[in-house]
Structure formats: structure tokens, C-alpha cells
Symmetry: D3
């Protein structure tokens, strides 16, 4: 039987995932994460103190910013700095990444420290937001170790780990894991699943791009997403070992 996928993968197979730690020299944590040809550089920056509205609370803060280089994509896009405004898609993904990581952070253990995760897409081939979340967890873990080395923590700030993957149905109704660009563009339904290492859900976002989907189809996608996140969790652990 032949594969239903462009690159010959099984429907339930991830692309080759590579996580290179310490790709940068200055950042307190940094990762080049690759899901096939999708390549995201994540830098974790630690600063002492928290935003003004949180000062004196004893609690830390974690936030994220996502962006794409102009030629990450097949054709060049204009820079948001030149357009003078951040687009809706950029905003939406930055918020998703921040939310996903904050879900496993114990702010009290972090103390009044801030960690910013900059996720810059160097090359895009589908799944940039899920690669960013998966890589950002590793950079966050390194930044937390940096703070631990300084004796700046009040406990263990990471309650669990976080990974994310995209899933969707192709036009023939086959559920696919970790869609690359062409698959993503042609998908009937597209879902991003963000999960903890313990197998619980942090975020589920499913969208019908074509025909609306049934409860049963939703179930199939969640099964596949859970499988993918479990595998990504394993890869993260190896990278951090």
C-alpha cells in the first residue's frame, strides 16, 4: 500500500524533529527546533523583576513573541516593522504560545523573574506554531536552569512539560499527523493540540476549513494529536537529558 502523503510518511508519523540547544551565545536558553523543513529559532531571555502590574506579588511572569522572517515562506512577505503594525495572525500565535507555556509554570516558585520567549520562524513549512511551542518548552527549561544556578528560584517552577502538534483530515478523509505546508493548505479540518507530558490538554483549537466536522471526527483528531504529543515529549526529554 502506498502512502497518502507527499513525503511518504505514514498518516500517524511525525516529520523528523530536531532540537538543537544553545544555538545562541547570549540568551539564557535557546533552541533551534526543526519539524522537517520548518525551522524556528527560540531565545529565552531572563530578566529580574516583573511587569509593573505584578510587582510586589512574589510571582514571576512568562510571555512569548512569535514572528516570521520575510523570506521564511515560499514568496517574500513584507516586514511587520515596515508596515508599522503587527498582524492578527502574529498576535494570535504569540498569545497561544505564551498561554501554553504559562499553563505549566508555578509563578511562586519562579519568583519575581520574567522569561520572554522569542520564537522567530527562519523557515516555514507548516506547523510553525506547534514547532515553536515544542521548542520553547526546551528553551524555557534551560532558562529555568540558569535561574536555578543563580539561586534565584523558590522551588521548581515547571510543573510539567508541554508539546504541541497539528492534526487534520485530508480531502480523502484520512486523519494526518503533523501537516507540512501543502497538506495544511489542502486540509478539510485543521486542529492544533497542546498537551502536557502527563497527557492532559492545555489547548485544543479545531477549525473546519471545508466541511464542518462531526463529533466522531473530532475524536479521531484528538487521538492522533495525543499520540504525536507523547512522541514529542519523548524527544524533548532526550534533548534535555
Amino acid at each position: 500500500m502506498t502512502s497518502p502523503r507527499i513525503d511518504g510518511r505514514r498518516p500517524d508519523q511525525l516529520r523528523e524533529v530536531r532540537i538543537t540547544r544553545n544555538w545562541l551565545d547570549h540568551a539564557e536558553g535557546s533552541v533551534l527546533v526543526e519539524f522537517g523543513r520548518t525551522r524556528v529559532l527560540v531565545a529565552a531571555s531572563v530578566t529580574t523583576g516583573v511587569p509593573r502590574w505584578r510587582t510586589g506579588s512574589g510571582l514571576g511572569w512568562v510571555t512569548a513573541e512569535y514572528s516570521m522572517l520575510p523570506r521564511a515562506t515560499h514568496t517574500r512577505s513584507d516586514r511587520e516593522s515596515i508596515k508599522g503594525r503587527v498582524g492578527g495572525r502574529t498576535h494570535e500565535i504569540s498569545r497561544l504560545i505564551g498561554r501554553s507555556l504559562r499553563a505549566v509554570v508555578d509563578y511562586r516558585a519562579l519568583g519575581e523573574n520574567t522569561i520572554v520567549l522569542d520564537c522567530d520562524v527562519l523557515q516555514a513549512d507548516g506547523g510553525t506554531r506547534t514547532a515553536a511551542i515544542t521548542g520553547a518548552y526546551v528553551a524555557l527549561a534551560d532558562a529555568v536552569e540558569y535561574l536555578r544556578g543563580l539561586g534565584a528560584l523558590a522551588g521548581e517552577p515547571l510543573k510539567d512539560c508541554v508539546a504541541a502538534v497539528s492534526v487534520g483530515f485530508n480531502a480523502e478523509g484520512t486523519a494526518l499527523l503533523d501537516l507540512q505546508y501543502e497538506e495544511d493548505s489542502a486540509a478539510e479540518t485543521d486542529m492544533n493540540v497542546v498537551m502536557t507530558g502527563s497527557g492532559t490538554f492545555i489547548e485544543v483549537q479545531g477549525t473546519a476549513e471545508g466541511t464542518p466536522f462531526s463529533r466522531d471526527e473530532l475524536g479521531q483528531l484528538l487521538d492522533l494529536g495525543s499520540l504525536g504529543c507523547a512522541e514529542l515529549t519523548r524527544i524533548q526529554r532526550e534533548a534535555l537529558a
Copy 2:
């Protein structure tokens, strides 16, 4: 047994929903939609022609913009026009509303006409995006009738209807339907469900605000959301009758 809810509703009960059509004199479709104290004014504006990238395709276009008046909320917020930029949350919700409505539109039947749905929140008490989607469908239906009256359609552009509702777990683990502001702020998990009148899903967005949720809990929320959307579909049909 007493209600677990501030306003005495049953866990699976919607707030009082009111849909007032033709609230404006100029717009081709307009609705004041109220989910309890949440009050959204939706105006559907019809223009002949489509954006440049779609011209000559024979296909129509539907888009949406969401915004909040500065004093819709408990304390006043600054206007985005004065800040000079549209915030991430505004962008995200505008995109969600547009996507949700487009899922039931047959662009070919619509012909090269554009319908813009302006959803302005006059008062916010939780669930503004779901109220906006629910009301916008009714305004869209009226705008489509307006085009039908002009003989400008090439078939029936509405393949189905659309309604949306929020669901979530409170701190005691009870699943609640249609969260008002205080419930929303305190929810452990928060989910927005957008469904067709036929009972299929257009969009599912679930977020763990506190503890991540299990597959079983996700199922409970989907059940409750389906129930709420079915009831909203009934109310929309009455309003359009």
C-alpha cells in the same frame, strides 16, 4: 438543591437571549443581540464587488470586524483608534467571527458581492464573541435577503446556520453553559464552541486557564456546547421567522 451559579441558572441553562432585528435604519441587515447583560450591535453592510485579489472569480466574500466601546466593561478601556493599533484580542476575535460565518457560505451563490459584519460590543458581561457570532448569522441572513430582493444572487448562499456558545468548568468541577463575566474569570477551563444548525462543528477552542483538562472533561464540555448551540439555533429561527 441550590444553584451553583451567581444568577441562579441551572448549569446547562443559557442566559436570556434576545435578538432584535433591524435595529439600524441604514444597514442592509442589523441585529441587537443580548445574552443577558452582554449586548452586541451587529451591522451587515453589502457592497457590490469583492476585494481585488478575488475580482473576476465569480465568488463573493464575507468578513467581520469586532470591537468594544470603551465603557462596555466594568472599568473604561482606552480606544484602539487612539492607541493607534488594534490589539491582539480584537484581531483574534474578528478572525474567528469571519471564519465561522464563511463556513456556511456558498461563495458562488453569493456572486461577486461583499458582506461586512461589524460587531460592536455595547456592553460586555462574558461571551461577547459567541453572542457576536450568533447575532451576526441573523444579520447576515437579512443581508442575503436584501441581495435576493435585488436579484443579485446566483443561488442560495447560506448552506446552513451558525450559532456559538461558551462552556467551562467552575472551580468545583461543574460544567457550566454560557458563562457570564464572573464565571468566565473564575473558570478552570474555558471553551468556545461554534456549530452549524445541523449539529456539526465549525470551530472548537478550549483553553485550560487553571489545571489542564482530561479527554473525558473535554467530552463533557462538547456535550454541553452542543446542547447550547441547538437552543440558540432555535432562537435564531424564531427571530428570522
Copy 3:
């Protein structure tokens, strides 16, 4: 003799004016004011304290912001938040409303409190700025009562009341009171008159749209404007009774 006006009014007759107080649940004062089909929602927001440049002076502050929903008008306009800049007309009217209300405020009696008046035009049919001023006075009075209830005042902050109306000449040279949209577009001369309840002038702005006007014509418009403001003052008093 037939009326020279589209809607059958006498030249010196206002449109039907309705002032609905407490249209919003959160705002300290709020009014839906209608001059015929022109409909403006005014929210008065009270905050303790004043802008930095006024802190420690013992004086209060009152300011206003005017805006129009995109489909308030016959054809849809782009949002200023999306354009990223506030237009000249919006700025000009916001400044006029603020100035008009400040003219009757005793800042010392107000104490170091700020009242912001948000005037959002839900539907426009001419005279939106004069309707906004007339409604804003009522919302301001309610916000002042709210502060009085808190014991936060150092006297009576409202020295007088304020109302505003537009007047103009039509092409036949008849002076008209309270111009609706079509009359306004066709007027030779257009004047906005803002007056106190005592019959003195706060602001007079007259512009020749066609032929420049004579001193005598200016006099006729002032007569008509004074008459209209006196009637609006009466309606405001009834609403506040």
C-alpha cells in the same frame, strides 16, 4: 402652506428628541440620546484622580471622546482603529464636546476626580455633535450625582446646564432648526450653537458652505439656535427630573 422640510417639520421645529438614562449597567452615568434617527450612546466614566499635570491642584477634570460606528452612516466607513489614526473631524468634535461641558464645570467643587464622556454615534442622520453635547450633559449630571453619593464632592460642580443644536439656511434662504442629514448636506450656511440653560453662549461655529453670509443672516441663525437650545434645556430637565 406646505413645509419646506423633507420630514414635514416647521422651520423652527426640533426633531423628536428622546433621552434614555441608564442605558448601560456599568457606567456611572449613561444616556442613549436620539434626535430623530440620529442616535448617540453616551457613557460617563468616573475615576478618582486627575491627569498627572493636574495632580495636587485640588481641581477635577472633564474630557470627551467622540466616535462613529462604521455603519452609523448610509455607506460603511473604515474604522479609525484599523486605519491606525484618528481623523481630523473626530478630533475636532471630541475637542468641541469637551470644551462645551467644561464651560459649566466648577473644577474645585468636583475635587480631584476625572469624568470621561464617551460619545459613540450608533446611527447618524445629521447633528451628531449637537446630540452628543446635549446627551453628554445628562450623563455628566448622573456621574456627578454618583460622586455626590460617595461624598466625593466639595460643592456643586455644575454651574449651569448645556445644550446644543445646529441651524442653517437652505438653498431658498429659509433658516432651519436642527438639520437632518439631507438638509445638512444641502445647506448654504451651517452653524452649531452651544448654550447654557441661562441663555448665554458657550460656542458659536458658523461656516459658509456656499455663498458667504451677511451679519443679518448670522443674526437670524443665532435667534433660531437660542430657541432650539431653550427647548432642549427643557427636555434635559424633564429627563433628569
Copy 4:
């Protein structure tokens, strides 16, 4: 009897007014206009053609932009280019200047040509907008002559001339003509009067800065403004002779 004015003028006396034509080498019309220490550089730029919405109408267009150099004032202000937005006051005055000049222009005689009047305040000492209008008329007249020289006109585009002056009451209730900065800051009422050479009104804008004013006081200011505009008309004619 001593003068009630800082600089010893009679209440009904203009400051020394100087109009220097052709202050710039490139512009089709240019004027350095001085009302005492207030100094405004006006450049009239002619371009063939009109904005897109007017193309093919056979009608011309005239518009104006007003701005202040950062150190025109007693203390330095930030540049609007650096703040990234044009302030409300700048917008308001630009619109007033444009409206005032357009009131005497016959667009058909102008043909499809555009004249932009840039009014840049080099030094401000009160009355910048009235000096700008008065000087802009002269620059406009020179730009019209330039077009006449090209044979590009279809008649006489200037139906009349335009001048403007400020008037106001000081704290002692004396009506003053052409207020300089300190007088303007201390005025109870402030009015700008824009008139044609024929003595009719183009624009009247009166504002109560302190106590609201009576109909009789309004009359006194109009008398004084008419007197000042007549004198400015005479000075403009001399400059153009």
C-alpha cells in the same frame, strides 16, 4: 489714558502686519506673513490634475496643511512626525484654512489643477491660524497668476479675497483686536473671524474660555473682527499691487 494692552496698542489696533511675497525660489506662490512676532511661511504648490475622486469633473481643488516648527513656541514641543500622529489642533486648523480659501474659489475656472497651501509657523505669538489664512490668500493669488501665465485657467478662479483675524474680551471686559499670545491665554472669550473682501462672513468661531458670553458681547466682537478684516484686506491688496 493708558492702553489696556501689553504692547501699548489701542484695543482696535492690529499688530504690525508684513507680507513678503516670493520668499521661496521653488514654490509657485510663497509668502512670509508676520502679525507682530507671529511669523508664518506659506508655500503654494501647483500640480496638474486633481485627487482621484474629482478626476474628470473639470473642477479644480484647493487644500491646506498647517504645522508648527518645534521651537516656534516659548518652550519646545515634540514633532508630530516623531510622535507618529497629527494632533487634533493641527488637524482642526488645517481644515479651517482649507475651508476658508475654498469659499472664494471658482473650481470650474481653476480647471483640473490642484493648489496645496503649506502654512508652517516659524514663530508663534498668538493668531497663527488667522495670519496663515491672511497670508495664504496672497500665496494663492500668486499661484493663480502662475497658472494664468501657463494659459491653464478657464476664467477667473478667485471670486473674492479672504482675510482673518482674532478678537476677544480681556478680563476687564474690553474687546481687543488681534490678540498676541499673552492676551490670548488670558482672554475670557476668543473668536476667530474669517471674512471676504466684500465684508461677508466665511467662518465665525467663538468660544467662551471663561464666563459664557451674551448676544450683545457677540455683536461687539463681530464689529471689531469686521474692522480688522477690512484693514487686512487693504494690506493684502497693497502687497499684491
Copy 5:
């Protein structure tokens, strides 16, 4: 032998340079500087205190802003305030002027005072940045005298003087001093030289507009620039005498 230059100058001859001090009444130092038809108004504004990042250091600060009026040039340009962003060329020249003046300032002697130099080009005919630097030094010297008069200095803040001039090769390979607009547009190589009164270099910026230049040609331009700066230094001294 005839001159190779449009205006008949010798290759090594400056245009007529005029420096008019105290052109403004409010500014602590001000200069109208003219290099032929290039005309720049420089205002030096003194404020007590320094930017926050420098507070408490005992050191002063000097900065500059450059801008062009819309009709300084042969054809009108749009205002940067209206475009809502400052262009690259404006930024680049503002930074050059600030750097050039700071090179001769002793911050400790200046004390915690800030001097802002606003350089507004009223008319442009080539060499606006070098005229601005040359004039700004004189305005700076006057602002320093103003501070000396207040007893606010801790020594002599000006370690040297600064002048600047442009040089370049025309198409025939002749090196020219102080290029006017047409010469500048046609130059093969264009260089700006900023020098102290003592004959040392503060900034050298040479750009090949056509054919890249040799080390020997670079030497010729530096010779010519040194000559021009020495002459400008003499003119500055006369103006300040």
C-alpha cells in the same frame, strides 16, 4: 578658461554663506544659515535636566532633529507627520548632526542640561546636512552662552568648533566643493566632511554614486573638504564675533 560649474564658481569655491543669528525670539540660540539658495533654520532649545538614562551622572546632553518643509524642494513632498513615520534619510541626517556636535562637547562642563538643535530646511538646494551642521554649531554656541549667563555651567563645554561641507567629482572628473542641487544629482562620487576648527576629522562619509573611487581620488576630496571647512570655520567665527 570658463568655469566647469553651473553658477560660475571656481571648483574650490564655496557658495555665498550667510549666518544670521537670533532669527527667532523665543529660542535660546537660533540661526538662519544660507549656503546659496539652501536655507536652514536652526533653533537651539535649552532645558534643565537630561534624559532619564543619564540623570544623576553630572553630564549634559546634546541632540539634533532634522526635517524639511514640504515645499523646500523643487516639487512638493508629503509631510512625515501625515505619513505617520519618519523616513530613513531624515533619521540618518538627524543622527549625523547630533554626533557631529557631540564630538566637541565636554558633557561635564555642560552640567546636567540638555540642548536640542532643531534644523528645519526651509529651502533645499543641495548640502542641507552640511549647512545644518555648520549653522547648528553657531546656535549651540549661543545656547551655551545663555547657560553661562545663568551660571549653569561647570567649565567650558565647547572643546572646539565644527563645520561641514560636501565635496564630489563631476562626470568630467573635476573635484568640486560645496555642491548645489544639480551638481549633487550628477556627481560620480559624493562626500560629506565634518571637521573641527583645529583641522581634525569628526566624520567622513564618501559614497560612489557612479564608478567606485580610488584611494588617490579619496585624497583629493579630503583636501578640498579640509579647505572648505577651514573657510566655514572663519565665517562662523566672524558671525560669533
Copy 6:
């Protein structure tokens, strides 16, 4: 004798320079260029056609954009997209890169094609603009080959090659080649030299950061810069071989 440099290099020694071609899959030319720890990703994007003002001329166009990732530097900087404006330094460097490359391009041979060079600094350790120019030439050469492969060229568009390096004096008066961050921050004089492979100058920018420099010192820096550019030209040729 010990080295005067932090990293033990000789004064006239470049850092280790690495040029990795085809680092990206989508771009028509791409290079990861490293000068020691300075790491710049350059993408060359080819589009058919030229900007509107050049259409129909038969000439091509080359332009560049420079930007830094937020954590390229020792401490994190805010994104320009979020600040909503591009800073002066960014503008200045983008313009320098574009100018430098255009100096060796034959527009007629390029035909009506546009090449945009995006230079994104992934890590900064001094000399980012010179690394960007040096790498951009290689990416440009690859993009030109891509066009040649399409048969889209009308000759050889590259008249020469381009390389750039920084030079400067340290506090002890030693001239250094290719300054890394700490050397750059401490330099008395800082110069960027952009040269062709033939040894002529495209751009020379020297700035006195401390004491102004003499003609003789300028000569020393030019000698060292010429040496460095020759070595970089050799490295570029190897990379392209």
C-alpha cells in the same frame, strides 16, 4: 609579545569568517554568514518586474532590508514591529547595504527584475553591517545565477564583487581590523569600508567616537580596511567556487 586584542588576534587579523550557501530552501539565494560570533542570515528574493516608478525602463532593481532579532544582543531589545516604527539605525544600515550592492550592478543586464536582500542578524557581536554586506554579495550572486538559469538576463549584471569590513583605533592608538563588540564599544574612531574586488572604494564612513582623528590616522585605517576587504573577497570567491 602579547596580542592587544581580547580574543588574541593580531591587529590586522579578521575573525574566522564562514559563509554557508543555500541555508534556506525557498529563497533564490541564501547565505548564513558568520564573522566570529556575529551571525547574519541573508535571503535573496527574486521577483519579476520592478517598482512602479521604474516600470518600462528596461532596468532592474536591487534593494536591502536589515533587521535584528530581539535577542541577537547581550540584552533583549524590543521588536520594531511591536514599537510600530523602524528605528534610525535600522534605516541607516538598510540603506547602506542597498547602496553598496547597487554599486556593482548593471541594471540593464539585470532586466526588469527585482532582487530584495533580507539581512536578519541572528546574533550580534560587532560588525553586523559589514558581515551583512559581505554575505549579501554571495546571496546576490546566487540569485543572479537563478535568473541566468531562467534565461531572464540580458548580460552579466555583476560588474564586480563587494565586501565590507570595520576598522578602528583602540584607546592605545593601535589600528584594529574587524572589531568585535567590546572593541567596537571602546574604539576611539570607528570606520566602515566597503570595497570592490578590484580594490576601489564604494563607501567610506569614519566617525570619531572619542578624539577627532587626523589625516594620517585616516590613512592607516584605509590601509587596514583595504587589506581586510581583499581577504574577504578571497573568501567570497572560495564560497562561490
